[in-house]
């Protein structure tokens, strides 16, 4: 049924049958068609102006800077780009960044899974406080994150003399960089998993329990397959931050070339030496990492949308 008023509505608004159709039939004068459309839709001028404003804003702050990274990286051609990456110091930085991510991402993924299990599968006092505490590193400036690691393990830090007696170096060495990264990337996986597992509920796990599955079996056969994409995206985010962290790592690294420089620190050094092309060439690696992150996000969104559609279709089918 398409009343006169309904066809006046824009496509997205046609769901509203009852009130609109009723008022169309009623003798009480309904507002004119064009008036209604004016009240629901933006006039074309406004549309174009707002869209232009939005695109202009995004261009000035996001798109142009992103384009600059690519253009500057490839300015001297592919050979120069490759030369900047094949430089021994750059290779050492890449190796260190991969190592640090390989240490911090699995640990934080394990933590995220445990935290999400504890928070979404049980009720207990102090849970809200726990959730807030997990978010804490997000509220801490990266410089402060690095600084607390120095206060803990530095020469005058709490464990400084203990470490010095045993000849162990944490600050201005690889372990410090790994610990600072661990701190900074701490909430990412937990933050992705908690809302997702909360929304999913406990029915499937409880069904498995009734059928005699042990805790580990439930985790492996029910929970992990259910949350794998969410977990994957959390890991991608965590990894992107681990590889890209600058402030915290900058405090604890000591900037020793070829030894304690990560990719972002190497970019900084090249840039401050006015080796712009090389700086952007190395930065383009991190840019690609950011693109991978965005693609993963888009993929997850599409997957979740299709999963939602599937659930709706199944539920309507069972209704029939």
């Amino acid at each position: 049924m398409t009343g006169p008023l309904e066809s006046a509505l824009p496509a997205g608004h046609r769901g509203a049958r009852a009130p609109a159709a009723a008022s169309a039939r009623s003798p009480v004068t309904a507002p004119s068609r064009s008036r209604l459309r004016r009240a629901i839709e933006d006039p074309p001028v406004v549309r174009w102006a707002l869209a232009a404003l939005a695109v202009l804003f995004l261009a000035a702050f996001v798109l142009v800077p992103a384009a600059v990274v690519v253009v500057e990286a490839l300015r001297g051609g592919l050979a120069l780009w490759w030369k900047a990456l094949a430089d021994p110091d750059a290779l050492a930085a890449i190796r260190l960044t991969l190592l640090v991510a390989a240490i911090s991402v699995p640990l934080n993924a394990l933590f995220g899974l445990a935290a999400a299990w504890s928070i979404t599968r049980f009720r207990y006092r102090g849970k809200d406080a726990l959730v807030s505490l997990i978010d804490l590193p997000f509220g801490v400036s990266p410089v402060i994150s690095g600084m607390v690691i120095v206060l803990l393990f530095g020469a005058h830090g709490w464990f400084g003399s203990w470490l010095a007696e045993r000849g162990l170096r944490v600050v201005f060495a690889v372990p410090g960089i790994a610990i600072a990264t661990l701190f900074v990337t701490f909430p990412f996986v937990a933050r992705e998993l908690i809302p997702f597992m909360q929304a999913q509920g406990t029915e499937e796990e409880e069904a498995a329990l009734v059928m005699g599955a042990s805790g580990w079996q439930i985790l492996r056969r029910v929970t992990l397959p259910n949350v794998k994409w969410s977990l994957f995206y959390g890991v991608i985010l965590c990894n992107a931050r681990a590889m890209g962290e600058f402030g915290a790592v900058s405090v604890v690294s000591g900037h020793i070339r070829g030894a304690t420089n990560t990719i972002p620190l190497h970019v900084e050094i090249l840039y401050s030496e006015y080796a712009f092309q090389a700086a952007f060439a190395v930065a383009s690696l991190l840019f690609v990492l950011a693109l991978v992150t965005l693609v993963a996000k888009k993929g997850l969104e599409l997957r979740q949308a299709s999963a939602r559609r599937e659930t709706i279709r199944q539920s309507t089918r069972s209704d029939l």
Binding site: A39, A54, V64, S118, S141, V143, I144, F246, A283, T293
Partner: protein, 289 residues
């Protein structure tokens, strides 16, 4: 032991019934709390200890020194302006993305998240190149008498970039979830577009926009990587608070660094508290509507 008996046994414990029936409470909660203490709380507690070691008077001398005051002024001022710009343009972008269909829309939508995904050092050098005097955009600002890079304007630009996704990503879902019937009802009742926007749409947007503002502000306050390249780092002029902490650290003045860090951290946590309240408010609003 059969599963049913195991379950029956479980149910006998009143604690477990209250908590939930699934196994692994002790292990998961224990590990979570232990790891949290080890990785986050222990390091953060050093800060309080170090700052208090300075004594009240000593800490005050550092916190209220002219250089520190100038850095707070710049950090707070630029973060406020940046978060404000983000609310203004963020609502427009969220509106356009939620309501209009146009070519390359999903590309624009994806670009919104770039500031989250791009490492700060990369954004820092990219923004500096774009807004420097001979940069792609900077060269057009120069004749207008605007010195973008190496000035407070540059700091604001970097902080706007870093906070850009927050407002958009909090307002956009609210707009998308808004029932079109609300607007239709307003229209049928005789409201014009402007009245509908002011009295129906705006009240729905405000809590989300405020949350986005607070999130962007909190992020901007602590930001370091993207700012240090574009700011020029002149003491008293373009030195942000996190950079001042860095400078103190490089001079091995850990007490002074800790004092300034405590100020910054206190404000951040206050903001987080506000954000929690705002989010609860947004949820209550959405549930109500």
């Amino acid at each position: 032991m059969s599963a049913v008996r195991r379950l029956a046994q479980r149910d006998r414990s009143p604690n477990r019934r209250k908590r939930g029936v699934l196994p692994g409470f002790g292990l998961s909660t224990g590990f979570t709390v232990f790891y949290l203490c080890l990785v986050v709380l222990l390091p953060l507690s050093t800060l309080a200890a170090k700052a208090s070691g300075l004594g009240l008077e000593g800490a005050w001398r550092v916190i209220a020194s002219p250089r520190a005051l100038a850095s707070y002024r710049l950090s707070f001022g630029a973060s406020l302006v940046a978060a404000g710009l983000n609310v203004l343009f963020g609502v427009v972008v969220a509106w356009v993305l939620a309501r209009y269909r146009f070519p390359a829309r999903s590309l624009v939508d994806a670009a919104v998240d770039l500031p989250f995904a791009l490492p700060t050092a990369v954004s820092g050098i990219a923004l500096t190149s774009v807004y420097a005097r001979n940069g792609w955009i900077g060269r057009f600002l120069e004749p207008l008498g605007i010195k973008a890079a190496f000035s407070p304007v540059g700091v604001t630009i970097a902080l706007t970039f870093i906070g850009l996704p927050f407002v958009i990503r909090t307002v956009q879902p609210v707009l998308e979830a808004l029932d079109p019937e609300l607007e239709e009802a307003a229209a049928v009742l005789g409201a014009g577009r402007w009245a509908t926007f002011l009295r129906v749409l705006l009240p729905a947007i405000v809590p989300a926009a405020l949350t986005g503002f607070a999130l962007a502000f909190a992020r901007a306050l602590g930001e370091y990587g993207s700012v240090v390249f574009i700011s020029g780092n002149m003491p008293l002029k373009t030195e942000i608070a996190p950079l001042l902490i860095m400078t103190r650290l490089e001079q091995y003045d850990y007490g002074g660094a800790a004092a300034i860090a405590t100020v910054l951290l206190a404000v951040s946590f206050l903001l987080l508290l506000c954000i929690n309240r705002l989010q609860a408010w947004t949820r209550a609003r959405a549930g109500h509507a």
